[in-house]
């Protein structure tokens, strides 16, 4: 039987009066720091991050029965709300949860049941589950709807653009700010020539390589001071978020960014690999949030993964591909300090409540999470064009913002 967490919470949930009002009439607008535009960072955990170990439902006895060897040992979790907790590796993020800057969304899933990493990632990044004809990223559709204001409106901190950003609006992909400069002699003259050639070429493929915008952005990027007092983990994620923080703080027009974190595909020996992965994720995010300072007010980091993992542990001390997963939302405008569930109900881990009898159900469609962020944080009045073949309803917004 599905459990309502109200059975476990001491205080009543702060339910929105908005639920009683017809959805179409109510368009709540969040208060935002005046001046600079809002920023959205999509942080993708590649491989299917194990939601049940990242945010273990320690109040659910079935969690321990299903995972005798790979569970987060009882008592070692960092409690969130009396029912859910954080894996101890996520310790650096715990203060942000307690201070109301971080919200957790559990039992999030896709309308597609695929357990293929590659399909599931595509379906999520194109926000088109089970539809292989749509090959444009959801964030690229957002850019079409919202318009871009700067050559650096959208950026992937990677060698290639994230699929979420692929599409007709051209975006940037830079793996590291420090390497983004012309070397050698006569850089001015050569740059002039390359810029002229890029702008005039009729080769349409080279538009794909961002020919003419590349060098426009060089000046912009080279002028950015990436020095910071904050210590980031010396990992790829740490470096990427450090560069991104510098880009956001200097406010050159970045509105949307994509970052990856690999690899969460823990088919074996999960308990040995997890602490380091979780620690890297939490340490890098915590450093990022701290580094942003007041710019955290206008920034939201949405952490996601293509699916969660199997409820039962497997024979190799790991877990197989599952269905329902977890998302995190970190930022100044986020109503943090809560674990959000559809209808405030934990689907539960009893076999009868599981997706295909084996996986955590996905009761919150990830598109509703995306839609609320675009609507209430990024200011896109009508996010429908971003979600083809899906009817939005603000009643399904999880409640990340008031």
């Amino acid at each position: 039987m599905a459990m309502s967490r109200r059975d476990f919470l001491v205080t009543a949930s702060a339910s929105l009066g908005a639920l009683a009002v017809p959805a179409t009439l109510l368009r709540a607008r969040p208060a935002r720091a005046s001046g600079s535009a809002p920023v959205l960072v999509a942080l993708y955990l590649r491989g299917g991050a194990d939601a049940l170990n990242l945010v273990p439902p320690h109040g659910d006895a079935a969690y321990y029965t299903a995972r005798p060897r790979i569970r987060v040992a009882p008592g070692t979790q960092l409690d969130l709300d009396g029912f859910f907790g954080f894996h101890p590796g996520l310790a650096p993020l715990h203060p942000f949860y307690r201070n109301g800057r971080l919200a957790v969304l559990h039992a999030c899933g896709s309308a597609s049941g695929t357990r293929s990493h590659f399909d599931a990632q595509d379906f999520m990044e194109f926000a088109a589950p089970d539809n292989k004809t749509i090959q444009v990223g959801w964030l690229n559709r957002f850019l079409t709807a919202a318009g871009t204001t700067s050559p650096i409106s959208a950026i992937t901190i990677e060698n290639q653009p994230a699929k979420a950003l692929v599409g007709p609006v051209s975006t940037m992909a830079i793996p590291a700010l420090s390497r983004f400069s012309l070397e050698g002699t006569y850089t001015t003259e050569r740059r002039q020539a390359i810029q002229t050639i890029s702008r005039a070429t009729t080769n349409s493929l080279l538009r794909v390589m961002g020919g003419s915008t590349t060098l426009d952005v060089l000046d912009l990027v080279q002028s950015i001071n990436t020095a910071t007092n904050i210590t980031y983990p010396t990992t790829r994620l740490g470096s990427a978020l450090k560069d991104l923080a510098a880009l956001i703080k200097v406010d050159v027009g970045v509105r949307v960014a994509a970052v990856n974190h690999a690899n969460w595909d823990h088919h074996a020996n999960e308990t040995t690999a997890f602490p380091e992965m979780a620690g890297d994720l939490a340490g890098s995010l915590a450093a990022f949030a701290t580094d942003l300072g007041s710019d955290l007010d206008r920034t939201v980091v949405l952490v996601m993964s293509e699916f969660g993992r199997r409820v039962a542990e497997n024979g190799a001390l790991g877990s197989d591909h599952g269905h329902g997963g977890v998302m995190l939302a970190l930022g100044g405008a986020v109503q943090g300090g809560q674990v959000l569930l559809r209808n405030d109900t934990w689907p539960g881990l009893a076999p009868a409540r599981l997706y295909q009898g084996i996986d955590l159900a996905g009761t919150t469609d990830f598109r509703d999470v995306f839609a609320e962020v675009l609507d209430r944080h990024m200011g896109l009045n009508n996010p429908s064009p971003v979600f083809p073949n899906y009817t939005l309803d603000i009643a399904r917004y999880p409640g990340l913002f008031t």
Binding site: R179, S181, G184, I197, M209, G210, L218, N263
Partner: protein, 487 residues
């Protein structure tokens, strides 16, 4: 007599030398771009078809000097799995002989081979198939096995039989470890004091990525059945100096009957044969023929590939039971390939850019070149043997689009044309006017025409530079123009 003369003339016109554009297209697709040897070889053989046929029989070509050089510089290239694992073991912290030495040396060997080998098609195919069966060499269990995967499982079979290749990859210790089949045992089997059981990872990926494809018609249940069939296919524990790293652990095999896709029904108690039967079933399946053909056509012909050609190649695959040489002949001798329709429609991914640059510019310090390209390729996002997903690096122009890599290419071309990093440019420029300098550089390095706007911009560049800097700086800039960035 007159009629005979006319007939001869007509015949001569039909077998005239292929245009430079066509030669470049073929050399840019079945290999890493033109170099002196390949252009001369086409001329010698008289036609592109003859050149392609020879490339389809790499055993006819002589790379012995190159292989001797590589073997002496990078000894791991000729070592058995066991010997390399024992030598470059995880307990040695010396970077020369530690566990990351194999990947460093293999990267350098592959780079040199791709630049200097006459067997260009074979090198391209080895790269394609390694990417298809991708193993991330950085993963702890794959640091030695990735090399034997490429050398022993893939290379001998790229123009051979697909099932033979598939079976060899299924037994490779790098594959077994990174996709966890090495710990795929019957439920409850105790291994090294730990109770273990069925692991689905490899079973899923052998179907989804290596053979049938994600729409291959298998279910979650089939994934588990395939996993059960492959139980016991694991890595050797005792690493002798001669082992290839595979062992079949009889007592860990799930002996029950299996039913795969309602079609392959395996009775109980057949041991290792279960695995061979699954491999045969997958290797000869029509969906596999189509997946393989589609990927090959995407790599060699166009993105997306022309459907008729994909089907023709799949048909060849099925009717020859997976003869990859026959499949490549179907593709490379097709009108779709042997025309200019799709020429220049792919963006050069980093490895292709780096190697094609070296082949036209020339290198004179192999060790320095190979070592320098190792780190550059990682910066460019295509570190060899380092792709992290089992899907490997994407074969799609738009996913190689990025500003960072564009700037890195500009910087690499500059270093190359200034004789750094082992490159050895020898400029055949005798002219002094901007027009002459640009024309001669284009002739030497591109061999075909460039857009007027590009030509004008380069001439302007020449004019803006002091005389002593004109050739190198312009040459460096030329190698980042659209004509050289695509293939």
């Amino acid at each position: 007599m007159l009629l005979l003369g006319l007939a001869l003339l007509t015949h001569a016109a039909c077998v005239g030398r292929p245009s430079m554009l066509m030669q470049l297209h073929v050399l840019n697709r079945i290999g890493y771009g033109p170099d002196a040897w390949s252009l001369a070889r086409i001329e010698q053989l008289g036609s592109l078809e003859a050149y392609i046929e020879e490339q389809l029989h790499p055993e006819l070509l002589d790379d012995s000097a190159l292989e001797a050089e590589i073997a002496s510089r990078y000894p791991v290239e000729t070592m058995s799995y066991g010997a390399s694992r024992n030598l470059y073991n995880e307990y040695t912290f010396n970077p020369e002989t530690g566990p990351l030495a194999p990947i460093r040396d293999a990267t350098r060997a592959k780079t040199l081979r791709s630049v200097k080998s006459k067997k260009q098609l074979e090198q391209m195919l080895v790269d394609f198939w390694y990417n298809h069966f991708n193993v991330d060499a950085k993963k702890a269990g794959a640091r030695w096995g990735f090399l034997t995967l490429e050398r022993d499982a893939i290379r001998p079979n790229v123009l051979g039989n697909f099932e033979t290749m598939l079976e060899a990859t299924a037994k490779n210790p790098g594959m077994l470890d990174s996709l966890d089949n090495a710990v795929n045992f019957k439920d409850g089997f105790v291994y090294l004091n730990t109770p273990l059981g069925i692991n689905e990872n490899y079973a899923r990926e052998i179907m989804e990525l290596h053979t049938l494809g994600v729409d291959g018609g298998y279910t979650q249940g089939d994934v588990r059945e395939v996993a059960r069939a492959l139980t016991g296919w694991t890595t050797a524990i005792l690493i002798s100096n001669t082992t290839n790293g595979f062992q079949y652990l009889l007592q860990s095999h799930d002996k029950g009957a299996k039913n795969i896709m309602g079609v392959l029904k395996l009775p109980e108690n057949r041991g290792q044969v279960d695995g061979y039967d699954v491999i045969h079933f997958l290797a000869t399946h029509p969906k596999t023929a189509e997946l393989v053909s589609r990927k090959l056509c995407q790599r060699f012909v166009a993105e997306p590939p022309p459907e008729a050609l994909v089907q023709a190649a799949a048909q060849t695959f099925l009717s020859t039971e997976g003869d990859l040489r026959a499949v490549m002949r179907t593709i490379l001798l097709s009108p779709e390939f042997l025309s200019l329709t799709y020429a220049g429609t792919k963006v050069k991914r980093p490895f292709v850019y780096v190697t094609s640059l070296a082949r036209v510019v020339g290198i004179n310090d192999d060790a320095l070149f190979a070592a320098s390209m190792d780190s550059r390729l990682q910066d460019l996002g295509e570190g060899l043997y380092r792709a992290e997903d089992p899907t490997g690096y994407p074969d799609s122009s738009r996913f190689w689009a990025g500003e960072g890599p564009r700037v890195l290419r500009i910087n690499l071309a500059w270093s190359a044309m200034h004789g750094d990093l082992g490159f050895n440019p020898v400029f055949a420029v005798t002219g002094t006017t901007p027009k002459q300098i640009v024309e001669q550089l284009v002739q030497q390095y591109l061999r075909v025409g460039i857009e007027t706007s590009t030509r004008t911009a380069l001439q302007t560049l020449v004019q803006s530079l002091p005389v002593t800097a004109r050739v190198e700086q312009t040459a460096a800039t030329l190698m980042t123009t659209p004509e050289f960035l695509v293939h």
